[in-house]
Structure formats: C-alpha cells, structure tokens
C-alpha cells in the first residue's frame, strides 16, 4: 500500500483517528509520518534524551537548575535536558555541575586522554606527559622494575617543578 500523503513510498504507519464520531484511517510512509503532527513520532530512539533524563536521578539536586540559562546561546537547563544537545561551548560551563555524572554515565570516564590542539598552553602538554608518566610508573612498580621506576620518578619530579610554575591545576 502506498502512502496517503506522498503517494510514492510504501506506507508503514497505519492509524485510526476518531473525529466527531466518524472514523478516519490513515496510511503513511515513514517520512510523512514523521512530518505528521498527529503523531508523537520519535525517530530513532534517542540515547541523549535517555541519558539526560538520568542526570537528576544520578545526582541529588543541590540547586534549582530549572531556570538556569546559558548566557551566550540562551539555552535553559530544561531545554538541554529535553534535546540532549549543547547550544555553545559556554553551555559546558553553565551546566558544569550537572555534567560530570552525565558524561561519566555516557563514556565511563570523565577525563580526555586524546589529541591536544597544537596552539594549546604548554601546561596542558606537560600535564598530559605527567599523566602518562604516572601510568608508566605504576606499571614499572607492579612489574618490579625498580630501576626503571626510579628514572620515571625523577622525570616526574622535574615535570612537577615546571608545572608548579604555571600555578594551580584546573581539574585536580
């Protein structure tokens, strides 16, 4: 059966509506059904909505975020919860307190360990090096390679001095 609306595609959605006591049947294709206002047609199950719906149950509400609004793009917290998308990079700052549980829930982590843009502050690169050395140190100790561990420890000390010259750490 072809779609009542476009007459081109196969109708996959069939529904019956009762209007003023009369019965009206409609047969629509996927595309027309999604454009049809009679439907609350939620296209592919949205993971975002699913997860943003979880934010408040994961974390106790400490402040009332309902009216919290991003100063740059104007998105409110409840809008963000509804559509699961940020409006601008400022939203990350505005909804910061809510994001830790959300992002950890989505990714199982909340610290980036991938690429760093070239123009970034040197401190970010040093911090990454420090993180990597810490992992190596742990591994060396575990495998009882104490000489190697000592070398890594010395490198870490040098790095720490450099890092301290940049002031306090942003996310420790």
């Amino acid at each position: 059966m072809l779609c009542d609306s476009c007459g081109k595609n196969e109708a996959n959605f069939h529904y019956t509506k009762i209007v003023d006591g009369g019965i009206e049947e409609k047969h629509l294709c996927e595309k027309c059904a999604s454009d049809n206002y009679d439907f609350d047609f939620d296209k592919p199950f949205s993971m975002n909505k699913f997860f943003t719906g979880l934010i408040d149950s994961i974390q106790e509400t400490q402040r009332d975020y309902t009216e919290m609004k991003c100063g740059y793009c104007g998105q409110t917290y409840s809008e963000f919860k509804r559509n699961g998308k940020f409006g601008c990079i400022q939203c990350y700052e505005t909804f910061k307190d809510k994001l830790n549980p959300l992002i950890r829930g989505l990714h199982g982590h909340n610290i980036h360990r991938g690429k760093i843009p070239k123009g970034s502050n040197e401190r970010i690169f040093l911090k990454r090096e420090e993180d990597n050395l810490k992992i190596q140190l742990e591994k060396a100790v575990k495998e009882e390679e104490f000489e190697k561990a000592a070398i890594i420890r010395d490198k870490l000390r040098e790095l720490k001095i450099k890092l301290d010259s940049y002031g306090s750490d942003k996310y420790d």
Binding site: P44, N48, F86, C88, H107, N110, H112, G114, Y171
Partner: protein
Amino acid sequence: MIKWLDGAAIDQDVVVSTRIRVARNLSKYKFPLFMDPKEADGLTNDILDTMKDVLKDNYRFIRTRDLPSMDQEVFVEKHLISPNMIEHMDKSSFLLRDDEKATIMINEEDHLRIQTLFSGFNLEEGWRLCSLIDDLLDEKLDYAYDEKWGYLTSCPTNVGTGLRASVMLHLPCISMTGNINTIIEALRKIGLTARGLYGEGSEVTAYLYQISNQTTLGESEEEIIDKLNKVVHQIINRERSIRNYLKKEKNLEMEDRIYRSYGIISNSRILSSKEAMEHLSNIRLGWAMGILNHENFKDIMELMIDIQPANIQKNFGKDMNIKERDIARAKIIREFILDLEG
C-alpha cells in the same frame, strides 16, 4: 562510479569499508543547531577562507541547499555525507576531496566533521588521513577544547576525541548460524556498537553491520582504534571459520543458496530494495567463498549503492515511484550480470 571504493582493499572477503570521522567546533560560534542560516553562512565563509591556505589537495565545495534533492540523497547513499546534512541543508555544506576518500562537512551537528572513507579494512590509513586533515585545519582555526573534556561537541556523546571509527562488515555466516546477537551484546560491554548500512537508526540489511566505538572520552584515539582493530580481526576470523566449515560440511546447501540468488537476480523484472540486497548479499558471499569466480563480483558493493532509490533515479535522470524503481533496479542488476557473462 564510486571513487572511494577504488584501490586495493584489505580483508575484502569480509570487510566492505572503513570510515573515520572526527567532530570539531570553533570557539567563537554557537553550535550549528543554535545558529540561524545567516550566522551559519558567516561561519562557512570563515572556514573556507582559512582552508584555502591549508588544504593543498583538490577539494570541491558544495552547499547542500544548492543541490537538487535527488543529488543530496545520492551523496548520502554513497556514504559521502551524513543524512543529517540534508536535515540541516539551510546551513550545511561540504568539501569533497577529488578521490572522495575525504569529506569535510560544515555545519552538520558540529561545525566540522572530517570524514575519511576507504574500501576494505584500513583503520590505520583512515585515521592517518583524518588526523592529518585535522592537524592542517588546527593550524589556522581556533578549536573549542577543554583540558578536562577534550574537544567540545554539540552532543555529549561525542565529547573528548570526537572520534567515530567504524568498519562495515559483511557477516552472513555469523548471522545465519545465529551468533550475531551474542557478538553485538559483547561489543556493547566494551564500548563498541553495531549499526546498519546507513548508520544510527538504520536497519540491518544484507547482513551488513557497521561496528564502531560508542564512547569517545577517556581513551586516546590510538587506543580506541587499536581496540576496534583487535575486535574486528576476531570477528573476521570467526566469520571466516564458519564459512570454511560450511564450505566443507554444507557445500551443496551453500551452492544451492548462492545459485538460487544468482538465478533470481539474473532473471527478475521487478526487485524491491530489500529482496535485491538479500540476493546480492548471497552473491557477495558466493564470491568470497570461491563459489562464484568472476572478478567483477568484487564490485557488488558498488552495485548495492547503485540500486539505492536516489542513485537509480539519478541514473535514469527522472523522479520515479516505488514500482518504477523496482523495475529499474531489476534492469540495472540484469545488466550487471549480462555484462560479466559477456
């Protein structure tokens, strides 16, 4: 003609293609979904000005809204742009490299989506090229980046690396023997996911599965790709060993299945997309198992794209309804077979 499918393909008996993309945004603009078309055009011009200096390869610039709707769909069916690009066509545009192995999408869900596409299993080369283009743009553009959360994206599911690495696999034998759901479940547990031919929300047809990373934060790009690489290798081996078993123990049944499909596609006058894909999937399997020997069968993937709705209409140069398309589809496939039978 689908250029990106050209060239030597690794593990092509099981792997159809490899796709990598990264999501990037510029700090000084709102994300695309929150921009009006005028702002979006301003951003596009900014990006184009910058790219002139850094992109040495030949790229073609296309505004989605300037394309007739049939052509927009053709790009999607060829996997060169995402369906989202059409949804946001008042703002979106893209740069397509001459060999079609790289697309830079502007104002999709993020300001920039850099995509690389290779036939066969080629995660290393896909990531190398994608990261290289990313580095070139990074030299001139001010990317939105946070020390803790990495590259900031419109959707929290992409934050961090912004990386989606995906491999399209043809897994008829794993599926036939009822093992696919166990694999899909296992993938989920390690942060990977399986989708259909056209990505998120698309149905699995012709036993084609796109396996990709689900999470983007907490691991480096190399770790994400390495994990996917190892897992895909295991799946390839599993599919191959089932194929070998079936060839040894059920050869007649396999031949029967494949030659039936061959008979149907060689003679049909009306073919729905679903039916055609099912039989072409068997033909691809027959070729990979050495049952069908003509070398042109390696181009079955190209044929699978050629028989998608928009590509058929583009090929025939007119709008067609479902019935007309089913007739045209059968004709295209018959001609493919006639061509190789000589």
